[in-house]
């Protein structure tokens, strides 16, 4: 379940970045692209990786 959530968050970061193209100001575009990038990184590092670390081989001893 966490893996599915992680995939969706990571992909939604990309969608947010693309949506920046609907804006006209470069400053606003920059902000939205960076927001999208941050969301994708959270999806990878904060959700997906954490899901795999929960059952990591080295935790089983």
């Amino acid at each position: 379940m966490m893996i599915l959530v992680g995939i969706l968050i990571t992909l939604s970061g990309f969608v947010i970045s693309v949506l920046s193209l609907a804006l006209n100001s470069n400053a606003a575009r920059l902000g939205v692209v960076l927001l999208g990038l941050a969301v994708s990184l959270f999806g990878i590092i904060g959700v997906l990786n954490r899901a795999y670390l929960k059952n990591a081989i080295w935790k089983k001893g």
Binding site: T10, F14, S17, L21, N26, I44, L48
Partner: protein, 546 residues
Amino acid sequence: MKIVTKSLLTLCFGALCCLAPLSFAQTPAAAPTTAPKAITDADVAGAPVPSADARSKGDPDGSLTGTASDIAVTDTKKGATIGDLVNQVGQNKIAINFVWTLVAGFLVMFMQAGFAIVETGLCRAKNANHTMMMNFMVYGVGMLAYWLIGFAIQMGGVGAVANLGGTPPLNAEHIITLFGKPFGIFGQNGLFLVHRGTYDVSVMVLFLFQMVFMDTTTTIVTGSCCERWKYAAFIISTFFLGAFTYPLFANWAWGGGWLANLGTNFGLGKGYCDFAGSGVVHSVGGITALAVAMMLGPRIGKYERSGKSNAILAHDIVIVLTGCFILAFGWFGFNPGSTLGASGNGSLRIGSIAVNTMLAGMSGSFAAMLYMWVRYNKPDASMSGNGLLAGLVAITAPSGFVNPVASVIIGLIAGVLVCISVEFVDRVLKVDDPVGAISVHGANGLWGVISIGLFADGKRHYGGSWNGVAGSVTGLFYGDNGGQLIAQLLGVATLVGFVFTMSFVFNLFVDWMVGQRVSAKSELEGLDLPEMGALGYPEFELKAEM
């Protein structure tokens, strides 16, 4: 520490001494004063040709070979005309560009050998055959996938590539409309290299050069996943990467897709720029490596129960550094070759591109060596090698747009970044990356892409435009309004958000289908016998792990 400080002071003194001779300027050569004379068909037809008698005696000094008699003539009765001459000049230009691009492609192909021995050297002897075989077969599996479908997806709609004499058959891009603008998604011509007229000399040259780039991407993943990746899973995963993931992003960046057209459609600089593939080749490989390595989990013994990371030592540092040299050599094909020519459209920039490449590699290895020396009191060999590769990866995208000083800065940052990133991936993410490929190619590929938005100096004209936008690529530090940087960051967001997801989802499918990871028993024994049926070093005495 003392020795490092002394060394730095000595280097600064040496640099000052080197700068001294720059104060002596050379006198410029005088410009020619006579006006050029128009030539006629009669001049061409009357050009001196060596006699058959003279030629029959041989030509030891080469003065009789390659003359007017070698020009292809359309009407033998009329003799050579200006039209024939002009056609010959055109063909010579394309021939130069063909040879240049093909030889550069051959150099990039040889990088496979460099990657193979770097990765094998960094793993343990008990996995040598398995790691070498993965690196060997990415060539075959990747090429098969790319020939079947990948090339068509990537380049099927690229349009004319002027330096290769145009590639007219590659003219069908699938386009959707978003925000009222056309978004190129994938190419449609070129399946099997015969589909819709793509059995064409220019298309063949383009295929060879692009194919070896794709192969570089696939070989990056094997490094991060070695010593625990099931061979069958590797084959399927590599096929998918060569057939779909790589070509799709490459189309968006190089094949006339939506990222390349961000300048035309949305006024963002010259659109997403990636001269030789920091993003397209290296980040796609590094990010896919992260997805698969995360899924595979670390090697047994890499982490203790407390989460403390253990170093698993390389078995042959000699071949690791030899491999780095082979890669640095091959990179002279990678970056300068990406002009796709040595004649016309600003292609003489190949000199600057080659020098930028070597400078960034130098500063990358230098920075990594110093970082490790200061932090751990020893100049670590494998990280010095990774620093060289990090500098080369980072300069790959900007090499065609920046000056030598920027190249050194980009390489220096890459050399430090790779060390910090390796520590972050190892200790914070706890993702086991035996060769550091996620950091070398993933992190530094992204840095290379971003660096264009900062350091591109706006003085490089490749036929007067880039991605269909007039003018030169210019970064924030050289007066751009930030549009170029945003285009680059959109590329980064696509790599992190889309390419990662695509690679991850497909490899989840592979995991479900055949399982990604070998059994613990096989891993402890070493993968050479269980997976490949033969040891890499049968005469070695291998230590069994408990």
